[in-house]
Symmetry: C2
Subunit: 205 residues, 2 copies
């Protein structure tokens, strides 16, 4: 599809730009309310003293997520797509046009809340993390094989709620393994902090 081809080219340009500035870029996607922003907040709290972080927030509307993360002492940029259901590489490039990238060594990009469309659009990040939540029920991995195949890591969030929801985390991990036996999976609570330091180790941050 031509849209995807053009995006791949734009993503490569982004990747070159990030490499030139020595920046590690992480693209974080997941459905509405799975905890993408809370995860980024948790990571920024632990990293902002030893890394220079920029966070790019993508949503159809509002500055809510950029504002939330900005309160943790990191710089932020908000992209409002209006109608687009996913960030693409061009939008990210445009958002960074007036930014002095030499100021940062880590960029977190929070994609639009959507488990499908963002999987098809590379942003030129080093890693694409898919955040799922135990509150979504047990079938989201089986129902989204393409998304899981294109992920570099799956984060199972809100594990602090698993017991009360009678959620079978092991079954979900097994579903991920069926799609990709070697995919990195992290079980975390962005609220309590459980699993976050192991996740950061795995990201090399």
């Amino acid at each position: 599809q031509d849209l995807f081809g053009a995006n791949e080219d734009a993503a490569s340009l982004n990747a070159d730009l990030f490499k030139k500035h020595g920046i590690t870029v992480i693209d974080i996607m997941g459905s509405v309310g799975t905890g993408k922003t809370q995860l980024i907040e948790a990571m920024c709290e632990r990293l902002h003293e030893r890394h220079r972080i920029l966070m790019i927030a993508g949503d159809l509307a509002t500055n809510i997520d950029a504002d939330r993360v900005g309160s943790h002492g990191v710089d932020t940029v908000q992209i409002n797509t209006g109608t687009a259901c996913h960030l693409d590489a061009r939008m990210v490039r445009v958002a960074l046009a007036d930014i002095d990238l030499s100021k940062y060594d880590v960029v977190f990009i929070e994609n639009v809340g959507n488990l499908i469309c963002p999987a098809g659009y590379s942003l030129g990040a080093a890693k694409k993390i898919v955040v799922v939540s135990v509150t979504e029920g047990p079938y989201m991995i089986q129902k989204h094989p393409l998304t899981i195949k294109r992920a570099d890591m799956v984060v199972i969030n809100k594990i602090d709620l698993a017991e009360i929801l009678e959620f079978d985390i092991d079954a979900l991990v097994k579903d991920v393994r069926e799609v990709d036996a070697n995919l990195s999976v992290h079980k975390v609570s962005s609220k309590t902090g459980m699993g976050i330091s192991e996740l950061l180790d795995s990201l090399g941050l």
Copy 2:
């Protein structure tokens, strides 16, 4: 956009077909795991003795939702879109091609788990219901104004979890009212049954 225009035509044809057979069609959309299927199951349990129900399930992959609803004594059809992030009117028409519509007076269509794209594609249903969940956090209404504007009803699901999540339901209802002062809002638990009979009354079922 031409895609939308062509879809509107297909949706009108669907609407005519449903009207010809005297069928009430309800399009149920919402993000991943908000409880669309559980809501349909709860409604079918209460309706299947006095209505002849068909349920159409839409997902990129699996028959999970059609199988779940089918166990409640209603007929089902599963649409697997493969890559498409929303159902459109043509897909629904094709799915119904071999179905004897004279057998039914109610059709529930469960859209793909996605709070954005399905809002732009009418299926020719009488009503488009948007199901949000208290587990998604407090911002999903503010972030998706177009979706809310295009809805005929908002169902706030999983209210049985609101207390433990310290979720402010009134604030969410207020957010809906800011987009559309007259939009029908129902607070329900598809698990406990709270609010379901009122919802059915409101749907005229």
